[in-house]
Symmetry: C2
DNA sequence: GAGTGGTCTAGACCACGGT
DNA sequence: CCGTGGTCTAGACCACTCC
């Protein structure tokens, strides 16, 4: 599992931090000591520390050292990273949950002016337009409204849409999903939402808009995921 | 403005990407050529490219090169504004807008069991509990519910709360805000929300929960920002 | 002034992509 | 096979923190 020098240093340090080895001083050992301990270069040690900082576990201060950030059971949930490409996390992270997909509609259409404005796909290209409802523990919690560029992602069928499009893209087409950009909003519920989601008394939805790129830099997907309130959470980390 | 070697390379490359200089090939020049052009080391060039990748402008492929990600006017809003610590972004970043703060309540209280569970502050410590409503262009759009550790951030007054607590923390107390962790949710509206926000027909709010740390690693703040639907947006970037 | 992390250089070898 | 980015080393100097 541990592939690189820096990765092994990173894993060791992370384990110690979570175990509380360094908690008393609220500091990591200085770089030179870590270089000596792991018998490696400064590059590898610094890269490991950088990864810990990316996760929000430590913070480097020039001239002082690498500081540990306080963490309590309550703040653990902030440390969940949204590194998973395909999915959304529930607010109960470790709980196992039932996950079902129902296909609402499946079409192949040509992008017109309005859809181009929304999705950033070029006018005239063919796209798959797919609506699916995701039920978590029997509750209709999310509706995915997907548009896939049919030239870049050909051959999607209703059957594939009912299982996993991302599996099809990665495993069958062998296309690499390089980058996903997301926008999160809260929107007033539309008819498509009230019709398909277990909104109860609520009349709003969360809206996660995703655009995904392959490793040639082409945008192959535009997706809106509308989800019901009180169920899902997203994390962010901001560093100075 | 340009301080370091890598920063100057980064700014130059970013400008060229946005101007379209490299768009035809959808590639950046290879590292060796950039090293030659900028007469610098590989370290500086790679650090600049890494920063471009962090912003979602490019993607590096081992063995192939550095690929440009497609960007259109529509997808500009997906590109990240990093580093804003003090506020919330509107969905129209460049638009000037009116911004007003009204103080709803101001108290100094002791953390009890329930509040400790919520905020991750230790039971028994004194905190400032502050509620403020932010109006954007005359619309009551956001209510901030702040808890500041009074031992770490002493001397907050109602007057300071009416202007800017973050200015007070950074400029007067000279405390560095090192890291902010955020959780984004959609919640059903509470009485505090319906009473203070221009929700209209909507009965839900966005909830941005922030916990902030100083450069000694101590959590000094827990804040919930409840905001009305259809006004604000947050960006995320996920890389493989 | 001593100690620490941040920036930078010059070089080496490896892993992967495409021909 | 060649060209490319990824990892890694050894070393230098600078900027900042703290005593």
């Amino acid at each position: 599992m541990t592939k690189n020098t820096f990765d092994s240093i990173y894993k060791t340090l992370k384990e110690r931090i979570l175990k509380g080895t360094y908690s008393i001083k609220m500091r990591l050992p200085i770089e030179d000591d870590l270089i000596t301990e792991f018998d490696s270069s400064r590059y590898a040690v610094r890269k490991a520390i950088k990864q810990l900082a990316n996760e929000g576990l430590v913070y480097s201060v020039k001239g002082r050292g690498v500081v540990l950030l306080e963490h309590t059971p309550q703040t653990q949930q902030f440390n969940l990273n949204l590194g998973e490409l395909s999915g959304i996390h529930t607010s109960e992270p470790d709980q196992t949950f039932d996950y079902q997909t129902a296909l609402v509609s499946f079409d192949q259409i040509i992008v017109d002016q309005a859809l181009s404005q929304q999705t950033a796909f070029e006018v005239g290209i063919p796209v798959y337009a797919i609506k699916r409802v995701r039920s978590i523990n029997g509750t209709r919690a999310v509706i995915d409204i997907n548009y896939f560029n049919a030239q870049l992602i050909p051959g999607i069928t209703p059957k594939i849409a009912k299982t996993s499009i991302y599996d099809y893209i990665q495993k069958t087409l062998k296309i690499k999903i390089a980058v996903v950009k997301r926008l999160l909003r809260v929107d007033s519920a539309l008819p498509v939402d009230t019709d398909n989601l277990a909104l109860g008394q609520n009349n709003c939805v969360g809206n996660m808009i995703s655009i995904a790129f392959n490793d040639s830099g082409r945008q192959f997907e535009y997706t809106e995921s509308h989800f019901i309130p009180n169920e899902l959470a997203f994390t962010q980390l901001i560093r100075n």
